[in-house]
């Protein structure tokens, strides 16, 4: 080697921490690139900038959420102990133990599911092995990998570890309880990192080795579901914050006889010892809880040590085994054009968790409304069902535009295939419509909880399927006209937010027209003295008439606005 290179003994922790930031950014960049590949034709500088800001935003969002959750659960502890919640004193211990356990469990789930995406990218991107290519010692290369991994979740870990113990201290003024709370969150983070790493290794080896096999498809689906569960968990947890007091109370009462079992299970054992350390009277099975907490603590330490050793090996250039791949015979499945486009979009979307979540949007949007139906006993009015179904129906019409960017850079390939723009847009609208199928199913499930005042509620639910199709198609045609002059073009959503909002709003309004027609017809028929069932029937006919009008509008617009 020439004297142009000046080797150094050790980089020092500060330099390693700084360099580890570069490794963690590289991993986040890989992850972000996978998530936002709508950036057709976008410069690499822009993508890097975007990946950087996305990473900051994601970290910020998760941290804010964790802090809100910590404050809410801290408040619940205070509310239980201060008498703000009307809980009998002999049930206070079980309520607080449950609050601590649920918070710990939620954070374990969130950290694991959120982290697994980036964790897989950490293993597959090869970023961890960067140190091996630098003129640094083996030990420094290993540290680079370890710190690079930790820096992926640094902000989240800090907020989890600091947030809840602090909130618990403010709520109880118990130093010992808060200290044990801190131990519980530390053990949770350690266990979460270990599980995350194990799952990432498993997914990496299976996905890489089995490619398009059925097993791999299932694995990928499970992987996607992890992400969806995390998003849904966040969403439901937030939506449930207003319902959480009665829920916690009900669960505390229901679970109180089972603590002899729960004392052995993570993280309830921690809940139990935190309550005992806080000095809340009546806490039972304390020795069981202490023993199993100790066991989980040891497991956490072993887990984090194994993680450290594994990451060190990765940093030293070790490769995760991917196993042998099975070669299957070459075949080709030729299907109808529309089906082929839908199948392709579906496959692409389900391999990008950020896009897969869209398929669960209607369900996510209906969740807060569904909770309302658990309360009360009377029959559910048509108006309540209308409120339940309107949001997902209009939002799906709005979100149709996102599906134009599903193909990401592959859009450039779509442009080379001999298909009319209308054919491609119709296939995408059909895919959106598949998501709308969940709307009548939810209405049916709701009807099992409490009776419906009229059959028309179910009919309205079913009507949302064609309604979403015509509104989604209209929005796709309008958007294609506006941004591509009537031809499909690759585009980046963030650069067309204005147009997307305008078109989305328009599509939402068009989707609302048939529903408005329902209301107007119903009122008119009732005013004219018709029986209520006839008014409902007239309303449903109006809905389908409105859908038909939108369909015609879409057909006319497509023939005039689309070019090819």
């Amino acid at each position: 080697m020439s004297d142009s290179v000046s080797p150094k003994e050790s980089l020092g922790l500060r330099t390693i921490w700084r360099l580890a930031g570069k490794i963690s950014f590289e991993v986040q960049f890989h992850s972000a690139l996978e998530m936002s590949q709508g950036a057709f034709g976008q410069s690499i500088e822009k993508q890097i900038k975007k990946a950087r800001s996305n990473s900051r935003m994601n970290k910020g969002m998760v941290s804010i959420f964790t802090l809100i959750l910590a404050a809410t659960f801290g408040f619940l502890v205070w509310a239980t102990l201060s008498g703000f919640l009307e809980i009998s004193p002999d049930l206070q211990w079980t309520t607080v133990a449950l609050i601590v356990s649920v918070f710990t469990l939620m954070n374990f789930g969130f950290l694991t599911f959120w982290g697994i995406m980036q964790c897989t990218a950490f293993i597959s991107s090869g970023a961890a092995a960067i140190g091996m290519h630098l003129p640094v010692s083996r030990s420094d290369a290993s540290k680079l990998a370890l710190f690079g991994y930790i820096r992926l979740f640094d902000v989240q870990i800090i907020t989890i570890v600091v947030g809840f113990p602090f909130a618990y201290f403010v709520a109880t003024f118990s130093p010992l309880g808060s200290l044990l709370c801190l131990a519980a969150t530390l053990a949770t983070v350690a266990l979460s990192i270990t599980v995350m790493l194990l799952l990432a290794i498993y997914f990496h080896s299976k996905i890489q080795s089995s490619g398009g096999s059925r097993f791999s498809t299932v694995i990928r689906l499970v992987f996607t579901l992890f992400f969806v569960v995390a998003i849904m968990g966040f969403s439901i947890a937030f939506q449930m914050l207003s319902f959480i007091l009665p829920v916690i109370e009900a669960f505390a009462i229901a679970l109180s006889p089972f603590w002899n079992w729960l004392a052995f299970i993570f993280p309830f054992s921690f809940g139990l010892i935190v309550v005992q350390a806080t000095g809340i009277p009546g806490t039972p099975y304390i020795w069981f809880g202490a023993a199993s907490s100790l066991l989980f603590g040891v497991l956490a330490i072993l887990g984090i040590r194994w993680s450290g050793r594994f990451l060190t090996r990765i940093g030293a250039g070790a490769v995760v085994e991917t196993g042998p791949s099975k070669i299957r015979p070459v075949t080709v499945k030729v299907s109808r054009v529309g089906v082929a486009v839908m199948r392709k979009d579906l496959r692409i979307a389900f391999r990008t968790p950020g896009q897969a979540i869209m398929f669960f949007l209607p369900l996510l949007m209906m969740v807060p409304f569904i909770f309302q139906f658990f309360e009360g006993t009377g029959a559910i009015h048509v108006m309540d069902i209308l409120i339940l179904i309107t949001t997902p129906a209009t939002m799906l019409s709005f979100f149709a535009i996102f599906f134009l960017s599903v193909e990401a850079r592959g859009m450039a390939f779509t442009l080379t295939i001999p298909l009319k723009t209308e054919t491609i847009l119709r296939a995408k609208a059909q895919l959106i419509t598949c998501m709308a199928v969940v709307i009548p199913i939810v209405v049916y499930v709701v009807s099992l909880l409490r009776p419906l005042t009229s059959w028309v509620s179910l009919a309205l639910g079913v009507s949302m399927i064609p309604l979403v199709y015509v509104a989604a198609f209209l929005s796709l045609v309008l958007f294609t006209r506006i941004i591509g002059g009537g031809r499909l073009i690759g585009f980046e959503i963030s650069q067309h937010i204005g147009q997307m909002l305008v078109v989305g709003m328009l599509a939402a309004i068009l989707a609302l027209i048939p529903l408005a027609l329902y209301g107007l017809t119903w009122i008119l028929l009732i005013d004219l003295g018709f029986p209520i069932e006839i008014a409902h029937l007239g309303g449903i006919i109006s809905v389908w008439f409105g859908i038909f009008l939108n369909y015609l509008l879409g057909k006319i617009l497509a023939s005039r606005a689309l070019r090819d």
């Binding site: 590949q37 490619g211 070669i327 030729v334």
Partner: protein, 271 residues
């Protein structure tokens, strides 16, 4: 469809093509044509306007001025007719990277409405020839540059197109696959197909192309057979590289740059 769609007229007639991106003129008054059974090479340095020209021919970009005809069809007015007749291998791998080659070819065969038996037979032959079987069920994103190129080439050939538009088709291919592709191209020509070959690898162009058009800054600076081009720049016997550099007037500039680099490297060695 199970075979080649016939079209009237010459594979490509480009007349006074102009393409502007804002103030930048990427293609400037470019005219050329490709005859049936001919390989036409479009050569030029990086940023000369080759890819923009290819995109206009394939109906992916509209010309600002001028016109293109592909077998008598205007890609702007009849993009579907044009896309049915061409097989495009773009410079950058524009593929659905999260799909596997198997899923990708299912899609390609379906949207091109190929008969299953025809698609199966052609696909099997190409997969065998390019030794792609091993990678058939791996996500495209996980494939090497050369393997992605093989996927791209097979997708372009699957429907037996009448015209092949190849933008740096040999990029990343190993010697064996490059040889296979050259043989496929010869077979394609025997069936009266046309080929537009865009490249900056001069040796390949020299061995494959019947006629060559050299473009620089969007303009055609020289056109003809290799023999004619050599005559044109009065360098008979010189390599195509010399012809090319002379045509784009970079021969003296390149020589000066190389000399400066040599001096700089010598100095750093002395230190």
């Amino acid at each position: 469809m199970s075979g080649r769609l016939k079209g009237n007229g010459e594979p490509i007639i480009a007349k006074n093509l102009v393409r502007k991106f804002g103030d930048k003129v990427a293609v400037d008054d470019l005219s050329f044509h490709v005859k049936p059974g001919e390989v036409y090479g479009l050569l030029g340095p990086n940023g000369a306007g080759k890819t923009t020209t290819v995109k206009m021919i394939a109906g992916l970009l509209s010309p600002t001025e001028g016109s293109v005809e592909v077998f008598g069809f205007d890609p702007v007015i009849n993009p579907i007719e044009v896309k049915q007749r061409i097989g495009l291998v773009p410079e950058d791998h524009i593929l659905y990277k999260s799909l596997t080659p198997r899923e990708f070819f299912d899609f390609v065969a379906s949207v091109r409405r190929l008969k299953p038996a025809f698609a199966k037979q052609r696909l099997s032959s190409f997969v065998d020839a390019f030794e792609l079987e091993e990678y058939f069920d791996k996500p495209i994103a996980a494939l090497s540059h050369g393997t992605k190129q093989k996927v791209s080439v097979i997708a372009a050939l699957l429907h037996e197109p009448q015209l092949l538009v190849l933008d740096e088709p040999l990029s990343g291919l190993d010697a064996r696959s490059a040889r296979v592709l050259k043989d496929i191209l010869n077979f394609h020509l025997e069936n009266e197909g046309g080929i537009l070959f865009s490249s900056h690898i001069l040796e390949v162009a020299e061995s494959l192309c019947d006629r060559i058009g050299i473009i620089d800054e969007g303009r055609m600076v020289a056109e003809g057979t290799v023999k004619e081009l050599r005559k044109m720049v009065k360098s008979v016997g010189g390599s195509l590289e010399e012809v090319f550099l002379r045509a784009v007037q970079q021969d003296t500039e390149v020589a000066a740059t190389v000399e400066a680099l040599r001096r700089s490297l010598k100095e750093t060695r002395r230190r």
